[in-house]
C-alpha cells in the first residue's frame, strides 16, 4: 500500500442524504471479476441517460465534477450493501475523501481499506462547507486529522487509530493479521476443547 499523504483539492457537492451503494455503483456492474473499470459506471443511473449520453446537469458531468478529490455528500453516505465496488469506483474516479455528517458502517470500513477517507463533520461545518465558493480549496491532513478550510479554520475529524497508522505508514492489513498466526493457532487449539462447530 502507498502511504497516504496530505492533499489539497476542490470539493464536489452532492448534498443528498442516504446515498446508497446501489446509486454509487448499480448491482448490474458487479458481475465483473476484477476491481478495474468501475469508475466509468460510478453513479451511473444519475449520470447517464438510458442511451448512455451524459446528463448535462449531473455534477460529475460538469467542469466542477472533474479533477476534484473530495466528495461532499449528505448524511448516512454509503448505506446499503457491503460491495467494496463502491469505494473502488470512487477512488478510480479520483476521490480520496468523502465528507459527510455520517457514514454507513460497512462502507466506512471498506473505504478505509482503499485509501478513501470518510470524514465526519458536524452539521454546522457541513452547511458551511456546502456554502463555500465553487473554487474553494480544502486541505486534508490525515496525520493531524484536520480539514483546513479557506478561511484558515482547521476542522478536526475522528479516524480509527489503527486505520490511520496503516494508511500513513502504508501497512497492509492482511500482512499484519498474518503476523498474528501463532495467536490464531493457539485459539484454534483452545477451541477444539470447547464446542464443536461444523458437525
Amino acid at each position: 500500500m502507498i502511504p497516504f499523504t496530505t492533499f489539497q483539492s476542490r470539493m464536489v457537492p452532492m448534498p443528498l442524504n442516504n446515498i446508497d451503494t446501489d446509486q454509487i455503483i448499480p448491482a448490474r456492474f458487479l458481475k465483473t471479476t476484477s476491481k478495474e473499470g468501475l469508475d466509468k459506471n460510478l453513479f451511473c443511473d444519475w449520470r447517464y441517460e438510458t442511451d448512455g449520453t451524459p446528463k448535462p446537469d449531473f455534477i460529475l458531468n460538469t467542469p466542477r465534477g472533474q479533477g476534484a478529490q473530495i466528495l461532499l455528500a449528505g448524511d448516512n453516505f454509503g448505506c446499503g450493501s457491503s460491495r467494496e465496488h463502491a469505494p473502488w469506483a470512487l477512488t478510480q474516479f479520483g476521490f480520496r475523501a468523502v465528507v459527510s455528517t455520517s457514514f454507513a458502517d460497512i462502507f466506512k470500513g471498506n473505504a478505509l481499506k482503499n485509501s478513501l477517507i470518510p470524514v465526519v463533520v458536524s452539521p454546522d461545518v457541513h452547511s458551511k462547507m456546502l456554502g463555500l465558493p465553487e473554487d474553494a480549496l480544502v486541505t486534508l491532513d490525515l496525520a493531524a486529522q484536520t480539514l483546513a478550510l479557506p478561511d484558515g479554520t482547521a476542522v478536526e475529524f475522528a479516524v480509527d487509530s489503527f486505520s490511520k497508522t496503516c494508511l500513513l505508514e502504508g501497512i497492509d492489513e492482511l500482512g499484519w493479521i498474518l503476523k498474528q498466526t501463532p495467536a490464531i493457532e493457539a485459539f484454534e487449539a483452545r477451541r477444539v476443547l470447547s464446542v464443536n462447530t461444523l458437525g
Binding site: K31, N76, A104, V195, T197
Partner: protein, 469 residues
Amino acid sequence: MPSPLRTLSQKVWDAHLVREEAGAPSLIYIDLHLVHEVTSPQAFSGLRARGLKVRRPDLTIATTDHSIPTSDRSLPILDPIAANQVAQLDKNCKEFGVPHYGVHSEHQGIVHVMGPELGFTQPGMTVVCGDSHTATHGAFGALAFGIGTSEVENVLATQCLLQRPSKTFKVQVDGTLKPGVTAKDIILAFCARVGVGGATGCVLEYAGSAIRSLSMEGRMTVCNMSIEAGARAGLIAPDETTFEYLKGRPFAPKGEEWDKAVAYWKTLPTDEGAVFDRTVTIDADTLEPMITWGTNPGMGVSITGAVPDPSGIADALDRDNVEKALAYMGLEAGKPVLGRPVDVVFIGSCTNSRISDLRAAAAVLKGRKVDPKVRVMVVPGSMDVKRQAIAEGLPEIFREAGCDYREPGCSMCIAMNGDQLQPGQYSVSTSNRNFEGRQGKGGRTFLASPLTAAATALAGVVADVRSIL
C-alpha cells in the same frame, strides 16, 4: 472493569477474541464464512497474488445465487459476464478446496437461505459473508455480519477479522401479531421508526414475547433487515424454537455433541440486568401490515397510512430527500399507497423466500386468479425450499393462480440476472431494498410481506390482505 453482566452479542464476541492489543482493533475468530460469486473473485485473486491458501476450507462454504438465471437450469447462462463470474467461483472453490453448492447442486440457494437450512448456522457462532444481509443468521443467536471483499480475503487467509465492538441496541417487541401481520411488518415498522441510518454503529438484539412466538423463519426475516436500519448485526437469543429447528439438520451436531452444544447454547442469552446502550419498544398488538413508499427501507408506513408531506419537514436535506423520493416513485404527498396499480409482484429474496413464506402466499392465492395485468414472480430461496414446495403442491397453486414460478436465486431482489423491472414500472416486493433502480433501472419498489404481496397480486393494486382473510 467491565460489567460482569453481558448481552448475547457480547458473550459471542468474548468467546471469539483471539488477541487484543492496545491501539489496534480486536482480532476475532470466524466460525463460518459464507462465500458467493459476486464479492469473492477479487479476494481469491488476492490470495493467489500472495501465494496464500484458504486457512479453514472446512469452515467455509460457497454457493451461487446472485448472477444466475432463474429459468431452466439445464441451459447455459447467456450473459457472458455473468457466466464468467459463475465459472470463476467454481474454479476458485476447486483450486482452494472450498465446498461449493453451485448452480447444479441439490442444495444451491440464496446464501442466507441455504446456510441455515443445512444447519451450518448455529447459536453462538461468528458468521461472516461478503454480503450485508448476513445479519439474517443472527436469528440463531450468532454474531453475523456483512464484510467487504478485502475482509473476505482476510478471513479466507486467516479465518480472522479485525473488529471493534459495536454499541448494543435492544428492540423489544411485545404483544401478539394480529392476523395479516407478520415478521416482515415488525422489521419494516422498526426501520420506519428509527430510519435507514438509525442503528448505525450498533448490534441489535430483538427480544420480547412477539419475537419469542416467531418461527425460526420469521426470526430470519426480522434479522435479515437489521442492516436496513444501518445495524451491523441483529441477534435473537436461542431457545427451544431454535434447537427444535436445528435438530437433525445435515450439519447440526449429532448425539453427544448435540447435547453438549445445547448446554452451551443455553448459556448464551443476555444476562438479566445487562445494560444496552439503547432500547426501542414496538407494540405488536397495534401493528398493522407495513409498506414502503419511498426509496429507502426506512420510508415505510402502515398499509392504511398516507405517504408524508415534505412541506412539513423543517430540515432542508431531509425535505429534499422526501421530495426526491416522491418524485422518483411518482407519488403524491399525503395520499395512501393502498389502491395504487402495480405491474409486478415479486415473492422471493433472502428476506421472504423460505417455505413458510411460500405457504403464506399460496394460502392467499389458492383457488384464485392473479390480476392478468400483473406479472407475479415466485422465486423459492433454495433447492431445498423448492423440493419442499413440490412435496406440498405449492407450485401448482402458484401456476393455477397465474404466477410465474421460477428456479432458486436472488432474482429480482437485485436484478443482476435479467429478472428486472422496466423503467417506470411498480412492484410490490417481499425483498429488502427499495433503493432507486434496485429492481431494474427506473423501477419503483414497494416493500411488503408475502401476504401483502399475494393480496396485491390478486387485486392488481396495492391491497390490504386483511380484507380477504
